[in-house]
């Protein structure tokens, strides 16, 4: 008998009220979860997000960091694209991509597809250690190491003399024609090991039967590479390209210690130019404008690449 049960509408109303009460309680509890995220939000907001916004604001002002700031509109931005030093620094950044990204990726692809896997525990450990060394040491220390490598009586010239090309020997980092390329090869040294290890890790995950099938279909090594290896490594190649392009565009440590942008402005990169504008010339607005342009370039280059390498 259901005589004691309240009419349906009342029952429903009660249920809705209870449900909305629990929902409200749940929502309150979900908001309370922000207590966990608050410290991260505070540190991020104060020391990361705010400075980004401030950079954008600074970039529209003329300011020496001490006196009053004057609004100059887009003047700092037009300077980025007309001032010789700033403009060449941006062009150099793109040139460096060849050495930071293209060359290491090519070398890594060749090594990974020829080697496929490192057999033997000792060889594996040794190879890993050596290949990762450039990633482990501070970039600034790499700058010192290569300044020495490229010096008059450094290894590079020693090697050229040894193979009978002594006439090419020169102080590479002080050479007007070759200094930027020399700096670029430091980047190659920094990135090659990491890319090789990444691609080796990736190639190990490719199903061996795919190669088997390609071989049965009569595919030679080149076809196998294009049909199996490249698609299988898509993700790893994307990672290698993304990291190294950012390293090339935003380089600072190595260049600052190896050449400080010289001789002249031959190796000037945006990072060093921003540093000089801000902390040597006290032109915070101009420095910020260049930093903003650099950041926009990084985003403009990286965003389409991310999409390219992510889609299946």
């Amino acid at each position: 008998m259901r005589l004691t049960t309240p009419p349906a509408t009342v029952q429903e109303e009660g249920a809705t009220a209870a449900r909305s009460r629990t929902r409200r309680r749940l929502r309150a509890r979900r908001w309370a979860g922000w207590l966990f995220a608050l410290p991260a939000l505070a540190f991020y907001g104060v020391f990361n997000f705010r400075p980004v916004l401030m950079s954008i604001q600074y970039s529209f002002y003329d300011w020496d960091g001490v006196g009053a700031a004057t609004w100059v509109g887009l003047k700092n931005y037009t300077e980025v694209f007309t001032d010789h030093e700033q403009l060449t620094s941006l062009l150099h950044a793109f040139y460096l991509i060849v050495f930071f990204t293209v060359l290491p990726l090519t070398l890594a692809l060749i090594t990974a597809s020829v080697l496929r896997e490192i057999q033997g525990r000792f060889t594996g450990a040794l190879a890993r250690t050596l290949l990762f060394l450039p990633q482990i040491i501070p970039g600034a220390a790499a700058g010192v190491a290569w300044t020495w490598m490229y010096s008059d009586n450094g290894v590079v010239n020693q090697f050229l003399h040894a193979i009978g090309l002594g006439s090419l020997a020169r102080p590479w980092l002080a050479d007007f024609t070759w200094s930027l390329t020399a700096v670029g090869f430091i980047g190659t040294w920094l990135s090659t090991g990491l890319c090789t290890m990444l691609l080796l890790a990736g190639i190990g995950k490719i199903d061996g039967s795919l190669y088997e099938a390609a071989r049965i279909d009569g595919a030679g090594p080149i076809r196998q590479f294009r049909a199996v290896t490249l698609p299988g490594l898509r993700n790893e190649i994307g990672v290698c390209v993304t990291i190294t392009i950012i390293a090339a565009l935003a380089s600072f440590d190595v260049v600052y210690l190896a050449t400080q942008g010289g001789p002249g402005t031959q190796t000037m990169v945006p990072g060093v130019a921003v540093y000089n504008l801000a902390f040597n010339d006290n032109r915070l607005g101009a420095a910020s404008a260049l930093a903003v342009v650099l950041t926009l370039i990084v985003i403009a280059v990286i965003a389409p690449l991310q999409r390219l390498f992510r889609e299946k």
């Binding site: 979860g33 991260a40 190879a127 060394l133 970039g139 010192v144 190491a145």
Partner: protein, 275 residues
Amino acid sequence: MPTRTLRRRAPGLVLIAAAGLYSVVPLLSMISAALAPQGSFPSGLSWPSHPHWHNFVDAWNVANITTLLKSSTLIVFGVVPAAVLISTMAAYAIAVLDIPLGRVFYTVLVLTLTLPYEIVIVPLYEQVKEMGLLGSQWALVLPLIGLNMPFAVFWMRAHFVTVPRELSEAAGIDGAGPWRALWHIHLPLARPAIASLALLMFLSTWNQFLLALVLIDDPDKRTMAGALQAFTTKYSTDQVLLNAGALLIMAPTILVFLFLQRHFVKALLQGSVKG
């Protein structure tokens, strides 16, 4: 190894040996210069007939390595534990507690993940100056915690989303609050992810150069990498001492790497794939 496989594998082995050699030659060249007599002009790569090991002791003293080790250690211990803790909590709130607007916060973090330090360096300097921190290690520690947040939260969230939902729900039914659930259930499971994150942050903090250079004007209070600049300008003409000093400055990370090689390689490979 049978000769046939050896012959098939030879090109690969030659390549990897060349790559390994390429990686290590600059360091060997530094060692060879560091062991030459002081004041001499060493050349490229040659084992000196009388290695002057004492150069390292002298470089240790002139480069102030003891002070720098202390300073770097202080900075790492200021940054890494705090950054790991608060990023883990935030990722937990976003992924497990599903806080309102959590997705928005996460998206903003990810969008700023690839921004170069150049975009923050000028305002950070002004900000740290206003706070009166310039010249102390705090000037580097606090910004680095903030700057590590995008990657750290991204990393820890990637871990938390792999934890089955039922686990936290079960904890909720058992009456455990979000704190107890995080502490007793999620943290033990997150240990490998936290270890890798801590290792990556140790490396990037210890090697931090640009921020250390700008935010701390006293070289003795910088990271070891940041102090390298002051040292190189001072001893730019003395190749022997310069190389010995630079080797000492990079030695700590290399030593830690050699001891924790397996973990480092795993963390670096994962770190780059996730980043």
